[in-house]
Amino acid sequence: MGSTGHHNHESSPVDLIGANLSFLGLAALLLGGIGYGLRNADATAATFAILLLAPLFGFLFNGLRFRSKNARLSGSVATLAAFASFLCSISLAMKVGAAHGAVSTKFFDWMTIGDLNVAAGFTVDKISALMILVVTGVGTLIHLFSIGYMSHDDRPSKYFAYLNLFLFNMLLLILGDNLLVMFVGWEGVGLCSYLLIGFWFSDSEKAAAGMKAFITNRIGDAGFLLGIFTLFFIFGTVNFAEINQRALDIGAESGWGGPMTLACLFLFIGATGKSAQIPLYVWLPDAMAGPTPVSALIHAATMVTAGVYMIVRLNPLFLAAPNALHVVAVVGAVTAVTAASIGLTQWDIKKVLAYSTVSQLGYMFLACGVGAFGAAMFHLMTHAFFKALMFLGSGSVIHAMNGEQDIRKMGGLKKALPITHGTFLLGWLAIIGMPPFAGFFSKDEILWLSFHSPLGHWGLWLLGVFGAALTAFYMTRLMALTFWGGSRVPNGVHPHESPPSMTVPLIVLGALSVVGGWIGVPHAIGHALHVPHFLEHWFQGAILGIPGLKPASTALEIALMGVSVSIAGLSSVAAFVFYVRRTELPGKVAAKFRGFYDLVHNKYFVDEFYFGKIIDPLVEASRNLWAYVDVSFIDRGTYAVADMVRGVGSVAKTVQNGNMQQYALYVVLGVAATIFLILR
């Protein structure tokens, strides 16, 4: 047991075995991975193996010594594991770039039954290369941040074990070359999310939040499964490349009844669960019960984008089901606006960010829905930077405030937390879409294409712009209430800037929130500046262009851009006035529109509806089923039969006297008698 603390647990043999096993496991896994590569003289396979196995090793290392309180050791191993994966990701991404295509490997056949042949096969193409870079890169930073954040926790080793397990599953999800391996990761990240949300499980509410996340996600997963079945029985395969090729061969379906449309809709149910869209978004705000770095990694930057990634992964299939795409677009746009509006009225710093995440994910689905898959991936990436930044920033604030999360008790933190404030500021500028910050480019591309794409509609654009205005308002409100204005910090709390292990990740993510968008400068601007749309080139061949997209008028594109940026700007200014200059205004407005304010503040009573109208009645019905069907009806029937038997003869009376040996004897006699009867 690697513990340094003097707690009262004695070193039980279990811990010693665990510690030793973990080291053996480390050696075996790494050697196994490297050995596999060397034996097959296959550097790609070895890179894949290390990429996947490093976090798995980290999980075993920390998991088997789960009682250790040595946050530094546990955290270092976990961070190194994540960093090793990051290096492998760079190596694979370079290979993909050089090969202008996918790089694949297969470890073993997982399931072979009938026509179903599922391999533990992995592939990196241009889409997944971007994704693993984001996940392992941001992931490493968040692991590093966690060392400081969890240094006072009781069970840091367990925490880092879960974090590494999450990374492993996320990589399975991204790299799997077929729907089933993706599903393994898909459920795996859900499991880790459950474990991490409920990490402080002694608190009933936190444990309940974890459970809610898992079960809500399970609803989505059920849809995902149905999607897999549908696709398998259309195409006879679950392999992504084959599915996409067949979908291309068949061409677009019209109407709603087609099998591909059905499959896409089933899969989208899965996406609404994992990526917190209407109607399954309710788990994400509650998920903020977990440690804040977890919210940054899982519930902002990576796991929740899985649904978007899955759709992009299958972009030829979704393009073959335009009606399904319309559903995706509408759900995305409506979610973007609804969640943003709830964000306006929340007091918990993390809840604001949570609703913001739901809203931003809505934008990504809007992009997918209008066929702008590249834009979806672009926004996925920039959002990972600025939202991870802001979540970690909020973690730094909460850490400084001794665990306080209510922004009404903050204010004026700018002075005490200069680095946190400075980096948060960059995230704020990025999310409200100010040029030239990262969010501007990706969000603008989504808005433009939702207007211009043949799959788009001006209504979608309008919703998007409205959502952007709300976003600018609630984010400025958050900045103002947390960092600006006068201090409302309670006595006895002395905010202090966080240690370097926490501020370094903030700075790196801050820089990325500035420059991250420059790889996707729109043609309307880029043409004049001679800056290419690098990302678009990168995705060529992996992501299909929008069918029927006409060349656009540059003037129109710039005009729309101007509209959305100025609306967001005005909205920010308004929020600034509300929450810094004339702080009496918000209360007045809330009082004037009391009914509407309460509706929004209470999150449109969606949770109340789900619990009151669905879950509680279901539990009640189950109690009735048990009481009336099982106990009253079926059992009463049994007794009726028993009484009949009893009536038949006096023998039964002795049967009822409860002597076990006698029963056994009757059975033996019965068997013997029947055998005798047959035999002669």
Binding site: S12, P13, V14, F66, R67, D109, W110, M111, T112, I113, G114, L116, E187, G188, L191, G198, F201, S202, S204, A207, A208, G210, M211, F214, I215, R218, I219, D221, A222, L225, L226, I228, F229, T230, F233, L618, V619, A621, S622, R623, L625, W626, V629, D630, I634, T638, V641, A642, V645, V655, Q656, G658, M660, A664, V667, V668, G670, V671, I678, L679
Partner: protein, 523 residues
């Protein structure tokens, strides 16, 4: 001789254990454990020698028993029964070691019962003569009655009576059906036979849409016996009571192996013997299976007793198996067979863990718990792993079985698939809710006020659980290691179900010819 050795060694060892003085509890336990390990070793020899390229019956042993009636001592194994045999021999030592904590009184009687039960269960899976099968099938009830009735809880008599009424009713019908089939063989071939292989050759008249025809009646007679055993909704109410009253090892045997005698019966007898009736009535069984999945899950959700919750979860899980088998495609059948093994491993493990909790707190009432994870971290981790297996999280065994069953169901009808898939959601709901109430949150009254601190798992208990946890991941990661043995047999069953024939492995044919009873030689 291998199959006879596997089948009857436990009985011999039971006699050996019976000779040890009852006061020497430790010797009894050690001998019993060693015996079951020897039998497990023998079954591994069987596994190693098993030819997975053929669907034919292997390791056949056949001796005339009552030649006039064509009844023979006839054992054989194929890809359908192989893993059920291994499951039985694997779980018995686990149960034997696990019982050291839960069975304190009448140790000798318990271990004798366990070993006799092992013989009966193995015999049921290996017998290829219907009468022999019936004898083993019934024999297995006797030690089970003892286990519940002697080592059981407060309402054990009530539970055994219920068990008695249900199971006797079912098996009597089956016996009548077997006798009918023996006569039918006499009428068509001219001699009696109770060989299942001969039964397969019979063409039993079937009339669609009517009950009163031989095949439909026989189908329902067999199906009733097995449906009770499984148990299928609405014949399931004996199970929760039996489980709650049974001692931990009894519950593990019951859930782990005995329920599979029912699903195995469907695969071995009902589907291939009565192909038209099975196809015609498949909808009914899928329908009842689906109700079982959903109903079992819903009722499990509201159980106040942990053990009863696990028992109802069995109703739900066994519903999956039934649906998979009656989907009658290769995915459903493979998933069904795999789920039989999964359920044996994971529900067995759940009952063991619930038993370990009970031994520490002497209560199973969920409301009295809370915060157990803090008090017993190792037990909590194991419980969580087994929970994941039970709710079919990928990379555990449960996922492979459930996925294949759902896929097979979906192939039959999208609507069935959609209903079945709700079990995936409800399963997570009732298990995780229970885990939350028992393990998480603030310490409950049983965890807080026990007077003495709760001790986490002992090394013995970890040894009991370790093989189950290893299997959970092994079966989840490498299902082909297991399914490769059954693939040919299952495909044979599905593809030729309309005219299913089972032959004896040709390489063993000479051996068989020598011992073939007159009944077959005569035709």
């Amino acid at each position: 001789m291998l199959l006879s050795a596997i089948t009857f060694f436990p009985l011999l060892f039971a006699l050996l254990v019976a000779c040890i003085p009852g006061s020497r509890a430790r010797v009894i336990r050690a001998v019993s454990l060693a015996s079951s390990l020897i039998v497990f070793g023998l079954s591994l020899v069987l596994l190693a020698k098993f030819d997975r390229a053929t669907a034919a019956l292997q390791f056949v042993e056949r001796l005339p028993w009552v030649p006039e009636l064509g009844v023979s001592y006839f054992l054989g194994v194929d890809g359908i029964s192989l893993w059920l045999v291994i499951l039985t021999t694997f779980l018995t030592p686990v149960i034997s070691l696990g019982s050291w904590g839960s069975i304190a009184a009448k140790v000798k009687g318990f271990h004798v019962s366990l070993l006799v039960l092992e013989t009966a269960m193995l015999g049921s899976f290996l017998a290829m003569d219907a009468i022999l099968f019936y004898v083993f099938f019934e024999l297995s009830l006797v030690p089970m009655y003892f286990m519940i009735g002697i080592w059981g809880g407060a309402r054990r008599i009530y539970a055994t009576v219920k068990f008695f009424i249900y199971t006797m009713l079912g098996s009597l019908m089956m016996l009548l059906a077997i006798i009918y089939l023996m006569y039918a063989h006499h009428d068509t071939v001219g001699v009696f036979s109770a060989s299942v292989l001969d039964f397969y050759k019979l063409k039993i008249p079937f009339v669609a849409g009517s009950f009163i025809n031989p095949q439909t009646l026989l189908f329902f007679a067999f199906a009733l016996a097995f449906a009770i055993k499984v148990p299928m909704f609405p014949l399931h109410t004996w199970l929760p009571d039996a489980h709650v009253e049974a001692p931990t090892p009894g519950s593990v045997v019951l859930a782990g192996v005995m329920l599979k005698m029912g699903t195995y019966g469907f695969m071995r007898f009902v589907l291939p013997l009565f192909p038209e009736a099975a196809s015609y009535w498949a909808w009914l069984f899928i329908f009842l299976g689906l109700i079982g999945i959903v109903y079992g899950a819903l009722v499990a959700m509201v159980q106040p007793d942990i053990k009863k919750l696990v028992a109802y979860s069995s109703v739900s899980h066994m519903g999956y198996i039934i649906v998979g088998l009656f989907a009658m495609n290769v995915y459903g059948a493979t998933g069904g067979l795999y789920q039989m093994l999964n359920h044996g491993v994971s529900t067995g493990a759940l009952f063991l863990l619930v038993g370990m909790i009970y031994e520490r707190t002497h209560s199973r009432e969920i409301v009295k718990y809370g915060g157990l994870a803090k008090a017993l971290p190792v037990l909590a981790i194991l419980f969580l792993i087994v929970t994941m297996s039970s709710i079919a999280v990928p990379l555990t065994n449960g996922f492979v079985g459930e996925f294949l069953i759902l896929m097979g169901t979906f192939q039959v009808s999208k609507a069935y698939g959609v209903v079945a898939v709700t079990g995936v959601i409800l399963g997570a709901a009732y298990m995780l809710w229970m885990v939350k109430r028992v393990f998480f949150g603030p310490a409950g009254e049983l965890v807080e006020n026990t007077g003495h601190p709760l001790r986490d798992l002992s090394p013995r208990e970890i040894v009991v659980m370790a093989p189950l946890v290893v299997l959970i991941f092994w079966m989840g990661l490498f299902p082909n290691h297991f399914l490769d043995y059954s693939k040919v047999s299952i495909e044979h069953l599905i593809e030729t179900r309309d005219n299913y024939q089972l032959t004896v492995n040709p390489s063993e044919a000479t051996d068989v010819a020598r011992t073939t009873p007159r009944s077959e030689a005569g035709k």
